[in-house]
Symmetry: C2
Subunit: 193 residues, 2 copies
Amino acid sequence: MGYPREQSIQQATEVFWLKGYLGTGMRDLQTALDKRPGSIYAAFGSKEGLYLEVLNHYTDVLHGQIMAVANSDTPLQQLREFLRFPLAVDHSAAHKIQCLIVKTQADWAELPEGVKSELQAALAHLRKAFEAVILKVRSTGELAADTPVERAAMWLQGQFIAMRTLATSVDSPASLSWMVDKIVSDLSGEWTE
Amino acid sequence: MGYPREQSIQQATEVFWLKGYLGTGMRDLQTALDKRPGSIYAAFGSKEGLYLEVLNHYTDVLHGQIMAVANSDTPLQQLREFLRFPLAVDHSAAHKIQCLIVKTQADWAELPEGVKSELQAALAHLRKAFEAVILKVRSTGELAADTPVERAAMWLQGQFIAMRTLATSVDSPASLSWMVDKIVSDLSGEWTE
DNA sequence: GTTAAATTTGAGCGATCGTTCAATTTAATC
DNA sequence: GATTAAATTGAACGATCGCTCAAATTTAAC
């Protein structure tokens, strides 16, 4: 049995997602991973190193979900489901509604340089996936052919952030499902060049 | 010369806005206010107490700005300017782009109970101001009379958050001014009940 | 000028932070 | 089973955290 990296990364994701980068202490991680400090440092080097692996894994999963939308035959319908999903998470896991990347970005001024650059890279990477979605929806004819791809992708990322941020400050996130319809509707709206 | 509360609150706002609630230490505040710990504790009781006054003042200012939009004779035009404003802040003050409330919300799980409830209250208070804007724009006929006020207000708050969050992760915030047009345009878009 | 009250000072408290590393336990090899 | 290598342990380090309070200073009153 080698060191359970994947399991540790998932457990650490839980903690960072709940408490944020600054709010998470090594002792929180030691408890969550059921490992003593030496083991964690042998495996990940530092708190920052562990967080970077968490961020990478998180970004990969999210990127995969968005690309699945882009690669679907019914991208608009899949986009709906993708956007709707976080509105249905259990109340006990409410912290999972907010995007981990956006959450960490809030601590910007206090983050190690390595974390800052990876966060920027992650946002840009995800934006590329949103671009793929826009391109696909355009190719199916469900979206005007002259819709500006980069702007629409950034706008979509913004809507994603807005919905998830609002959902964390509301009693019943599910009551925001009308916003999904609004987003899909506005996607086909005006895009003045 | 009594204790300079207002000045201290403004100086503390700078620090909290830059570093966040968790990221700000009492020593940061001592430096910024040029006060020794005892004075700060005599005036504000605790770090939380000082932050709550900062939050209150910040919320009041922002609420006033939004209400000024609502009370204007040309609310839609004023809304444009209100939304556009943070895109023009100096690069050296980039941290002021993001909303202080949203920023603090990111540390949710680690915040004192008193801060949590005040954040919720601040968001709700500002949403009321957004409602006033929607009502006013509706009354001028620039917006359909059947536009759902509560939803539109929450949506507008979401767009506000989205724009400010995206603007912090982009090289030139001013390049996002197209998003202001998109928001104003979508405001008159579909609102399926 | 004297006294009393109010304010400010700053050394330092106990707790917690991220991290280290000598010592120990576990796994692998012959 | 003996030997070596690899992985894990956990006490403890220096730094920093929010905060306290006796002492010093400033302000107010007569």
